[in-house]
Every structure is written in structure tokens, then in C-alpha cells.
């Protein structure tokens, strides 16, 4: 796939709008010996846009980022930054000539330099004198919440503090492009969320374009203007987070962005929006993916989003009311790429189930249930705990059931 970004960036105050994309990657391939890490990838990042590259380990996202940074030299293809060719036939500009900044997964702070010295290192290329560099570094550290810690060495800082120093170092020189290599993966959950918010806010305030890589789907969806999903070196989808979640381009994308479970059945009727699927004699409803609905009688696979499933009472009452309304109400501003609009009341199917496991999450309980035939669904929310092996009914909403014909190539994500 050689895709272009689909959403324009918001205009940013204070930063002149460039007519060139911040990053323009075309036909990029990078091989290490016989192993192709990045396979013919095309990508465009608009000025001020926040693009997140999402994929499992080995999908090529780190290699792609390192090619953009100039740390790796592509085997083929072209990279332009701000309209200037960085990599191409006969061209390879080293990293220091690309005027960008990067936050590394392991922070990459120089242990023999203080926090202030680490940050001011990035200002040397701006031609400032020592006092100005120091003043700006101190200010940058204060902006990331590290006022008073300028004199500390990295070994004297916590993981979260180290990552904030790395963030300050990346932001201080106000580059037009910021690269992030899974910056939150070494942090605990609480710090991760705080820093995630800070990263998003600071980058957008700066108005720089950003390319951010992660394997965490929730992180990607929270941060991105555009999400690019990579699988085995190929860019399989590039779209807004909502589109990636609602209309995944492949079963791999669907699985990698979170499923409650999968069911296999036979395609039956199609009403123009929703497909009826016969699953072992039960009818469930879903949305066909990838263009035309499969013909009647075609074997299909139904991939079920966690938001599509909730518990229902045997007399039609629904359990866990607030989760129900969240599952059924369409999210604002969504549009499906296949042209079918969301229906106000998408059809739903009710299936008998047995509760196997419940996990308290604070807000309520996540359950694992087993359907007839042994199929399991996980992540089914309820405000109350269901006892082990208690009987229940599961309601599957059609909007969250994604139907793929089983003849289509299935690429399972290695999670």
C-alpha cells in the first residue's frame, strides 16, 4: 500500500504553514540481508500533523522511524522532509543535517551530563551562546515539570523524569519534525498516561509534525490525528483512529486494535448495510468489510469488538445499563469508509452464554463468557460480577461485528 494521509492538519498559530509535507516517504524499502524490514511503504505527514505508526514487534515501525531520522539508510525509495530530499538515489543526508529531534525508547540521555546539559546539547545547532542555551534549557525543563532538577544526572532521576528530560531535549530546539520511538513503553501505567497527555499537548502547542511509534493501540488512538498500521514491513492501513477502529482494512488490523472474540459462520441475507450470518444455527448481524458483502452461502469470519457485546436479560432487560448505552450510541463524527452510514438502531443478536471468568476493573467487571460450541468472548463489561458458570445472555450489536470472507488472506497479528 502506498497511501497518503487523509486528514489535513489544523492550522497552528505562530508557525508559518509550509506548502510541503513535513514528511514525504515514497516506495521506501529497507532490508537487512535477506530480511525485508520495511516493504515499499509510502506515507505523507502534513505540517503540524500527529501520525502514529502502530504495529507489533517486527512490523517495521522502528526501522521506518530510523530511516526517517537518518539513522538507517534505506535500501530503496525516497524520503523528503519539508520538501528537501533526505534519502534518494545517490542521496543520504546524515541525521544531524535533517533538523529534527527524537525521543528514544530508552531515553538515550547521556549519563555524564546533567539534565540541563542534556537539554542544551540540542541547542548547539541553533548557534546560541552558552548563557542563552542554559536559559532556554532551564525553561524547557520547567515546562516539562522538572524545575529545580537541572543539576541532576540521569542516574539520579526516576524513569518518568528521565523521559521528561528526553522530551525537553527534543522540544527545546523547536524542530519542525519530532520523532518518538515508543517513549512510554518503559514507564509504569500511571506515569505513562500523564506523560502521554503531556506529549500530545506540548507537541501540538509547538505546532511541529510528529511521527510516533507504539505497539499500544490505546496509546495510538489517544494521540493520533492519523494512525498507520504496519504488519511485516507493510503499511496496511493509514487513516483516522476512528476509521481504523470502525473499518479496519484487514483482519490483522481488526485483531491488533482489539477484539472480544471471533465467530465463524455462513453469510446469509444482506440488507444493504448489515449482513446476517448463520453461526451454528444462530443468526447474528454484522457489517461486511472490504467492499462488497460476501455472497449468500460464503464462509465468513465475524470479528467482534468489545464495544459490540454486552449482557442482556432473558426477558429482554439489559444488565449493566450504562455500558449498554455506551455500546449502542453511535460515537459523534464517525463515518464509515465503505460508504454505509451508521444506523440509528443497528440490529442485534442475543446468544446464550456461560460466564467463565470475571475480573474487577475498578469501574466494574470484565467477563469472559463461553458460547455454545465452545467459542469464547472476553472483555464483556458488567457492573456486577457474574458467578462462575452462571448462565447469561450476550447481545451482539451489528455495528461492532466486522465480517470478513474467509477466502480473504488472514494476517494474524503477533501480539
Amino acid at each position: 500500500m502506498n497511501s497518503r494521509a487523509t486528514q489535513p492538519a489544523d492550522p497552528v498559530q505562530g508557525r508559518p504553514q509550509s506548502t510541503f509535507p513535513a514528511v514525504d516517504v515514497a516506495d521506501l524499502t529497507k532490508a537487512f540481508g535477506s530480511k525485508v524490514a520495511v516493504d515499499n511503504v509510502g506515507l505523507e505527514v502534513a505540517p503540524g500533523q500527529f501520525v502514529v505508526l502502530l504495529g507489533p514487534s517486527g512490523s517495521g515501525k522502528t526501522t521506518l522511524l530510523r530511516c526517517i531520522a537518518g539513522i538507517e539508510r534505506p535500501s530503496a525509495g525516497r524520503i523528503r522532509i519539508g520538501g528537501v530530499e533526505m534519502d534518494g538515489p545517490g542521496t543520504h543526508l546524515p541525521p544531524e543535517k535533517r533538523d529534527l529531534a527524537m525521543v528514544f525508547q530508552d531515553y538515550a540521555l547521556w549519563p555524564h551530563m546533567t539534565a540541563e546539559q542534556n537539554v542544551s546539547f540540542a541547542l548547539r545547532r541553533r548557534g546560541l551562546n552558552l548563557q542563552e542555551r542554559r536559559a532556554r534549557s532551564v525553561l524547557a525543563l520547567a515546562q516539562v515539570g522538572l524545575a529545580g532538577l537541572e543539576g541532576r544526572y540521569p542516574g539520579q532521576l526516576s524513569g518518568g523524569e528521565q523521559q521528561r528530560v528526553a522530551l525537553a531535549r527534543a522540544l527545546v530546539a523547536e524542530p519542525s519534525l519530532l520523532l518518538f520511538d515508543e517513549p512510554l513503553s518503559n514507564l509504569d501505567a500511571d506515569r505513562r498516561e500523564h506523560l502521554r497527555v503531556d506529549i500530545g499537548a506540548m507537541v501540538r502547542r509547538l505546532g511541529a509534525a510528529a511521527v510516533y511509534i507504539t505497539h499500544d493501540q490505546a496509546e495510538a488512538f489517544a494521540l493520533a490525528d492519523v494512525v498507520g498500521v504496519l504488519d511485516q514491513g507493510r503499511l496496511v492501513q493509514l487513516a483516522a483512529p476512528e476509521t481504523v477502529y470502525r473499518d479496519p482494512a484487514s483482519e490483522f488490523v481488526a485483531r491488533f486494535t482489539g477484539l472480544a472474540g471471533e465467530l465463524e459462520g455462513i453469510a446469509a441475507d444482506f440488507d444493504g448495510t448489515h449482513l446476517t450470518v448463520d453461526v451454528s444455527g444462530h443468526e447474528i448481524y454484522g457489517r461486511p468489510m472490504l467492499g462488497e458483502a460476501p455472497e449468500t452461502g460464503t464462509p465468513v469470519r465475524v470479528l467482534i469488538r468489545p464495544t459490540a457485546a454486552h449482557f442482556g436479560g432473558s426477558d429482554g432487560r439489559e444488565l449493566g445499563g450504562r455500558f449498554m448505552s455506551r455500546a449502542l450510541s453511535p460515537a459523534p463524527g464517525l463515518s464509515a469508509s465503505n460508504g454505509s452510514g451508521r444506523t440509528r438502531n443497528p440490529p442485534s443478536a442475543t446468544l446464550d452464554a456461560v460466564a467463565l471468568d470475571s475480573a474487577f476493573r475498578g469501574w466494574g467487571y470484565d467477563h469472559v463468557i463461553e458460547l455454545a460450541g465452545g467459542r469464547r468472548l472476553s472483555g464483556i463489561p458488567n457492573s456486577q460480577r457474574l458467578r462462575f458458570e452462571s448462565r447469561a445472555q450476550i447481545v451482539l450489536s451489528a455495528d461492532g461485528c466486522l465480517v470478513f470472507a474467509t477466502s480473504q488472506p488472514t494476517r494474524r497479528a503477533s501480539l
Binding site: 530510523r66 546524515p94 544531524e96 529531534a101 528514544f104 530508552d106 545547532r125 539520579q156 532521576l157
Partner: protein
């Protein structure tokens, strides 16, 4: 055509500067480390290749060597080396237990003392023991001379003991980390499942076997290749060993390179066998028992008696390995012979004589100058090689380099020296205008060639621990290649580089076999001067020169370390200080280069040496 070649070269450099740098480095390594020993060793069976005989392939040199006593010499070498290995491992194991598993006083000084044992060359230790036990020595001055003691020390037993104590640091640094990491959960698991203390020892001891064998093999290899003790105690005692046999083959006129090459092969084969055995043992018994998740046991508190035994043992071991021989050297330089041990028999005439006799201060100056130049060259080349080997990108070339350096470490210095004598004395080189034989540059090249493998191995650990992201971070934030290294990485390596430079300088300053064989006429390195003066029965001045030489070396080391402590920026010295209040970040975020002189770096480096 010339301009076309230049243009092609320029384009090739632009296209792949790293590739061409690697090619250049491979050329330097080949010329320095591979070609001379290879040219020499091939004489064993193909003397006609370099006009040293009439046959393209012959075994006559082998039979000559065997009839000249190579078999006996090799057996002697193997026998004393086995003894040395055993002694070293036993002493090192006990010291490691004391330092890692107990709270005995003074245990933190063990590493310092072991480094001192490493720094002092084996021939000086041997001379020291001679000056203790000889009829003209210290024991005699004290009225304690004994013929049995003299013949024991100045014989095979003494050779094994000196080599064993000399090799003890290697064994210690191989054993100590494993010793320190064991116990704890493993011992607890034995105890909670009904086993007693003896059962725990029975379970734990086999887990140390890889480290024990590794230490044994390192000491064995070092002992087989030693020349210092061979040329002193062993030669005086008429106890033939392989390294001295090789030296004799070359020192006679005409030099018998064919037989010398056969001896060289026998030395290499013996050491290689030991290294292969060690590699096999390391592979078959994995180290995963000692992992990041295992918890070491808490050190045991010994009682007064236990502390006394521990301290006494350490005193005996370090006394025998260093204290006593240095006492022998110092006393010999200060005492008038056969005058007994009185204040009146103390004299500084030997030291005054050093100043008075022309040429004796010259060796110190020459060795210091060439040690400085070659030491810096060694560290520079060693750092480049270490970086190449540590790089995550190393391919087939890197693996070949690894193997070449491993083989070079296994080559005794005397084989290197013989190789340089032979290779650079070949007529075709003179015809080509390369006339290096008998010059100081050739001596320097041989010094560097002999020291680089060891230096590379010492620096390999620290370089391996530096994450590439530190360089990449510097480059993406605007620093070029040179500044990235200068500002981002070299300060982290300042201490290991300094230690590597000091070790290289110390080793080269007091180096013996290459100095003995390659020093040009009129040039006398300090080690040659010492043995030459001793050989003329001028024991007092010879030992005085030894004392001055060792003091000079230690003085240089001390001054350099002191200057580093005073002048290096705080970040270069203190970047590993712990966080004041909260726990520091995960170690993955910070390079964990340990300070040289600490166990973990040495263990990594010296085990890697094997």
C-alpha cells in the same frame, strides 16, 4: 588510470565510508597480527617458502625439535602449568569466597592487591624469589638459608608456584562474580526442602564448575606462554620449558627458525586445546542459573577466629605472590651481600650506581617513551577493534576479527617476537625498500601487535555496554559523527580507556620477550637491562633497577589516576552515583559500565580474554 583509481576510491568512500574504514582496519590487523606469526610458523613444515631450506614440505624440523628436547620441554611446560592452574584456582576460590560471601575485614582491598599482582611482571617476581632463597640472598642474611628451600623454590615447584600466584588474578576475576551471585535462593531452596548445609554445598559447588574451569584454563594458557619465569628461575635451574626452548633456537647462530616454528606450534596447540576445552565447557554448562532474577545470599559474618583465618590466608597468598618477592628485590638492592641483616649493611650504593653507570637510566627513559607512544597506539587501535566487535552490525568480518584476536591472545609473546624477526628479515622486503628489521619502529610494531589483543578484550566489555542510542541521540540532535563520539560516548569510556592505556603502558614498559628478541643494537629496554645486569652478577644494581622500574610504573599509574580524579569533569567520574531519594530508573535506560578495577568489568574482560 591513477586519477580514475582515485576517483573510484573517493566514490567508494562516500558510498560506504564505514566499509572502507573496516577494510583499512582489517589490513592493519593483518599486517600487525597475522602476517608475521604466520610467516614464521609456516617454517615448521615449508622452509623453502621463504628460502629457509630446500624442501617445500618436510617434517625434518619436527624430528629435530623432538630430538633437541622439545618433548621434554613441552611436558615440563604442561606439568608446571597444570600445577599453576590448580594453585591459582584454589587460592582464587578461597579469596573469592572471603570477598563475596563474608564480612571479613580488608576484603575490599583484594581487587587492588590483585591488580598489583597483574602489573608486576613474572620475571621480577622470579628474581625476587631468587634473591630471597639464594645463598647470597635475604634468608642467608637472616641466617636462615637452607639448601632444600633453595632447590625447591628454584626448581619446577618454584616455577609452578610463581606462575600460579601470577595467574591468580585471572582465576579470581573468573570466579568472583559467579561466587557472589550464587547461594541465596538456590541455597534456600535446598534448605526448605529438607537439605542441610552440607547438602547445600553439594548442590551449589557443581554450579561453580564452569567458572572454576574457566579460571583454570586461563591460568594454564598464561603459564604455558610465560617467558619471564622461563628465562629466570627455569633457566637457572636447568629446567627446560617450551618458551625458553624457542628462545634458544632463535638466539643461537645461525638461528634455527624451523625448529623454533615447531616449538611455536606446540605452544599454540597446547594453549588452543585449553581454550577449546574451556569453550566446550562454557557451552555445555550454561550460566543461566545465575540470572538477573536470582538473589545472592547475604554475606556471612565470621567470628573472631574466622576473621583471623580469612585475613591470615589473604596475607599468606598476597605475601607469597607479591610481598615476599618484592621484599627480595628491595632487600637485595639495599643490602650489602653476605653482611647479614643489620642496619650497617644497608646501602644506597646500588641506587647511586644506577645514576653513575652510563646507560642504566637510559633504559628507563627509552622504555617510558616507547611505552607511552605504543601504549597510546595500542589503546587507539584496541578501541577501534573493540567498537567493531561490540557493534550490533558486525557481520562475517567481525567474527573473523574476533577469532583472529582470540588466536593472537593465545600466541605467546615470544612467538610474536620470533615472527617479527623472521618476517621482517626476509630479503624480498629489503628489495622492496622495507628495511625495518633491527629498528625501533619494528620493536614498536611488535609491542603494539602483542598488546592490542589483550587491550581490545579489556575494552570490549565497556564498549559492549554502551547503547548505540547514545550516539544516535547526539546525531539526531545536531552533532556530527566526531562530536557524537567526543561528547556523547567517550566520556563514559574515559575510565576504562584510561585503565586500558595504563595497563598497556605498564605491560610495555616492563615487557620482556619482544624486548629481548627485537631490541635494535644499542637500544636496551629496561627489562633487558635488568636481566643483563643480573646476568653479569651485579645483583644489587639489577634489583635496584627493578625497584626503580616498578616504582616508576606505579608512579605513572598513580599520577595519571590522580590527574584524572582532579581534572576530569565531575560527570565523567560520577555519572553512576545513585539517586538521593527514590530508586533510579531501569538499568536499560543507563549504560552500566562499571569502573575498571571492579569485579564485573574485569570478569567480563578477562573471561573474554580466554
Amino acid at each position: 588510470m591513477g586519477s580514475g583509481l582515485a576517483l573510484s576510491l573517493h566514490q567508494a568512500v562516500r558510498r560506504s565510508p564505514a566499509g572502507l574504514a573496516r577494510l583499512g582496519m582489517a589490513a592493519v590487523v593483518t599486517v600487525l597480527l597475522v602476517v608475521p606469526p604466520a610467516c614464521f610458523l609456516i617454517q615448521a613444515v615449508a622452509p623453502r617458502l621463504f628460502d629457509q631450506g630446500t624442501s617445500w614440505l618436510t617434517w625434518s624440523n619436527v624430528s629435530s625439535a623432538l630430538s633437541d628436547g622439545l618433548g621434554r620441554a613441552l611436558l615440563d611446560s604442561v606439568a608446571v602449568s597444570l600445577g599453576a592452574g590448580l594453585l591459582a584456582v584454589v587460592c582464587a576460590a578461597v579469596l573469592a569466597f572471603i570477598s563475596e560471601k563474608t564480612t571479613a575485614p580488608g576484603r575490599r582491598l583484594f581487587v587492588l592487591a590483585l591488580w598489583a599482582v597483574l602489573l608486576v611482571p613474572s620475571y621480577l617476581v622470579a628474581v625476587g624469589w631468587e634473591e630471597i632463597v639464594l645463598k647470597s640472598g635475604l634468608l642467608s642474611s637472616m641466617g636462615l638459608w637452607n639448601h632444600t628451600v633453595q632447590t625447591t623454590v628454584l626448581g619446577p615447584v618454584g616455577v609452578a608456584f610463581v606462575l600460579g600466584f601470577k595467574g591468580m588474578p585471572f582465576a579470581y576475576f573468573a570466579l568472583a562474580p559467579s561466587m557472589g551471585a550464587l547461594g541465596g535462593d538456590i541455597e534456600h531452596s535446598v534448605r526448605v526442602h529438607g537439605g542441610g548445609k552440607l547438602d547445600a554445598i553439594r548442590v551449589i559447588t557443581p554450579l561453580l564448575l564452569p567458572a572454576i574451569m574457566s579460571g583454570f584454563v586461563i591460568v594454564f594458557a598464561e603459564s604455558v606462554g610465560d617467558f619471564g619465569v622461563a628465562t629466570t628461575i627455569a633457566a637457572s635451574a636447568h629446567f627446560p620449558v617450551a618458551t625458553y626452548t624457542l628462545y634458544e633456537s632463535i638466539s643461537t647462530f645461525p638461528a634455527n627458525f624451523g625448529v623454533a616454528a615447531v616449538v611455536g606450534w606446540s605452544l599454540i596447540g597446547t594453549v588452543a586445546l585449553a581454550l577449546v576445552l574451556q569453550n566446550g565447557l562454557m557451552r555445555s554448562r550454561s550460566f543461566v542459573v545465575v540470572s538477573g532474577r536470582s538473589r545472592a545470599g547475604a554475606p556471612r559474618t565470621l567470628g573472631r577466629a574466622g576473621n583471623s583465618v580469612a585475613v591470615g590466608f589473604a596475607a599468606v597468598v598476597f605475601g607469597a605472590s607479591l610481598g615476599v618477592p618484592l621484599l627480595g628485590v628491595v632487600s637485595s638492592s639495599l643490602l650489602v651481600p653476605f653482611k647479614g641483616l643489620h642496619l650497617s649493611s644497608l646501602t644506597l650504593s646500588n641506587y647511586k650506581g644506577l645514576l653513575g653507570v652510563s646507560g642504566l637510566s637510559g633504559p628507563i627513559r627509552f622504555s617510558a617513551e616507547i611505552g607511552l607512544v605504543c601504549g597510546l597506539a595500542t589503546v587507539t587501535l584496541g578501541a577501534v577493534l573493540a567498537r567493531t566487535m561490540a557493534s550490533s552490525r558486525r557481520g562475517v568480518g567481525g567474527k573473523i576479527l574476533d577469532m583472529a584476536l582470540l588466536v593472537a591472545v593465545a600466541l605467546p609473546g615470544v612467538v610474536f617476537a620470533a615472527g617479527y624477526i623472521f618476517a621482517y628479515n626476509l630479503p624480498f622486503l629489503a628489495h622492496a625498500g622495507i628495511d625495518l628489521y633491527g629498528t625501533v619502529p619494528l620493536l614498536g610494531m611488535a609491542y603494539v601487535a602483542n598488546a592490542v589483543p589483550q587491550s581490545t578484550r579489556i575494552m570490549l566489555g565497556p564498549f559492549s555496554q554502551i547503547h548505540d542510542s547514545l550516539l544516535h541521540a547526539a546525531r539526531v540532535h545536531g552533532a556530527g559523527w566526531a562530536r557524537s563520539w567526543r561528547s556523547g560516548v567517550l566520556p563514559l569510556l574515559a575510565r576504562p580507556l584510561l585503565w586500558a592505556a595504563l595497563l598497556a603502558f605498564s605491560g610495555l614498559f616492563l615487557e620482556l620477550p619482544i624486548s629481548e628478541l627485537l631490541a635494535p643494537p644499542g637500544v636496551v629496554p629496561v627489562s633487558v637491562a635488568i636481566l643483563s645486569v643480573l646476568g653479569k652478577a651485579n645483583i644489587g644494581q639489577g634489583t635496584a633497577l627493578s625497584v626503580v622500574a616498578v616504582a616508576f610504573t606505579l608512579g605513572v599509574v598513580g599520577v595519571c589516576l590522580g590527574l584524572f580524579r582532579l581534572l576530569a569533569p565531575p560527570g565523567w567520574r560520577n555519572w553512576q552515583r545513585p539517586a538521593p531519594a527514590e530508586a533510579p530508573a531501569a538499568s536499560a535506560a543507563t549504560p552500566t559500565t562499571a569502573a575498571p578495577g571492579s569485579e564485573s568489568t574485569i570478569q567480563t574482560d578477562l573471561v573474554a580474554v580466554s
